[in-house]
Symmetry: C2
């Protein structure tokens, strides 16, 4: 397909596609004339992933280039590719993660649940900091409540992974997973707010 | 207690407390001398709620004054007070909510689940817009998946409401509920990210 068709099918403007080509985020098309090139479905899938990494995950162009490089190194390892695209694991695991507030409690929870997660997962720090903040405000959670939330997260993750088409191309799987993971976040929080209102009404009788 | 003690117990600086007093967010203390006043536990609870409305929910001083006014009108009606403090229902229900994208799908879901939620709940619009965005990107959810997420939200809300001490003062209940609802949001999303990584690892075997 021509660049105009690639633009139409991806909803990414032609000028932006040319910028991604110059920045090496997309491989060049097959030249058909001095100023024309032909693109294929692989370009389209990769372009969609680039758009999701920049527009939805909010990465810079250079961070996107690093993620794509790491994804290429792990092509075929679906779990690694998903982790890289979702940001569950950093591209470069060189440094030991700094001990974050609440890390011990998070480690204990993950151990108790038997979860297999990278020690570099950024979500560990987010969780630990939140638990510390709540405790400092005198609104800390007890272990049983935290465990209850974690078990509901497990079931949410099962639903999330069920949405991924196992037949799809790995880059396409990764792009869909990224869109659904990040864009569903406000919807999940909104569902919780609505469910809270309903549950509160129910308890009042 | 003196203002210094009120400051210490609430972790709100004295200058900020004086500002809230001038703005009418806190009722004056009992004057004990020309420049001294005595505050009680009621002041402390109200101050904590003010701090949570401004610092955690992000309301302006004038919006906080409106919420406190509406809370005072509904004192004793726990469900109303919680809804006002959490922002589930607006202080002024004068205007019809504008039809938002995805509203029909949200209405259908809420009807199917039998949830009792205000037609003014801001979370309705957030949910509808997210569903529309996902659909526009070709990553829409089918009805069964959406229903699955909603049922997990119901169970999350049960856990949330279980954390509220039914013996506590209503303003204190509202403040705790606000802290736990808003501050838990990043923790719940972090738990989902960790659970996704674990579930992905599990499926790879």
């Amino acid at each position: 397909m021509r660049i105009s068709e690639l633009s139409r099918r991806s909803a990414v403007p032609t000028a932006t596609i040319k910028y991604y080509l110059r920045e090496g985020l997309l491989p060049p098309g097959r030249a058909t004339a001095a100023t024309q090139a032909e693109y294929d479905e692989g370009h389209l899938r990769r372009l969609r992933l680039v758009r999701a990494l920049i527009g939805v995950r909010g990465l810079s162009v250079s961070a996107t280039r690093e993620v794509l490089g790491a994804v290429a190194e792990h092509a075929g390892e679906r779990h690694q590719v998903l982790g890289l695209v979702l940001g569950a694991r950093p591209v470069d695991e060189g440094e030991e993660p700094a001990p974050a507030p609440g890390a011990a409690e998070v480690d204990a929870l993950i151990g108790e649940l038997g979860w297999e997660v990278s020690e570099y997962a950024p979500a560990r720090a987010v969780l630990g900091e939140t638990l510390e903040t709540l405790r400092a405000l005198g609104a800390g959670l007890d272990r049983a409540a935290l465990r209850g939330y974690a078990e509901l997260a497990e079931r949410t993750a099962v639903l999330d992974l069920d949405q991924i088409d196992p037949q799809a191309d790995p880059l396409e799987q990764a792009e869909r997973a990224l869109l659904r993971t990040v864009l569903m976040e406000p919807a999940l929080l909104a569902l919780r707010r609505l469910a809270q209102e309903n549950e509160s009404a129910r308890r009042e009788g």
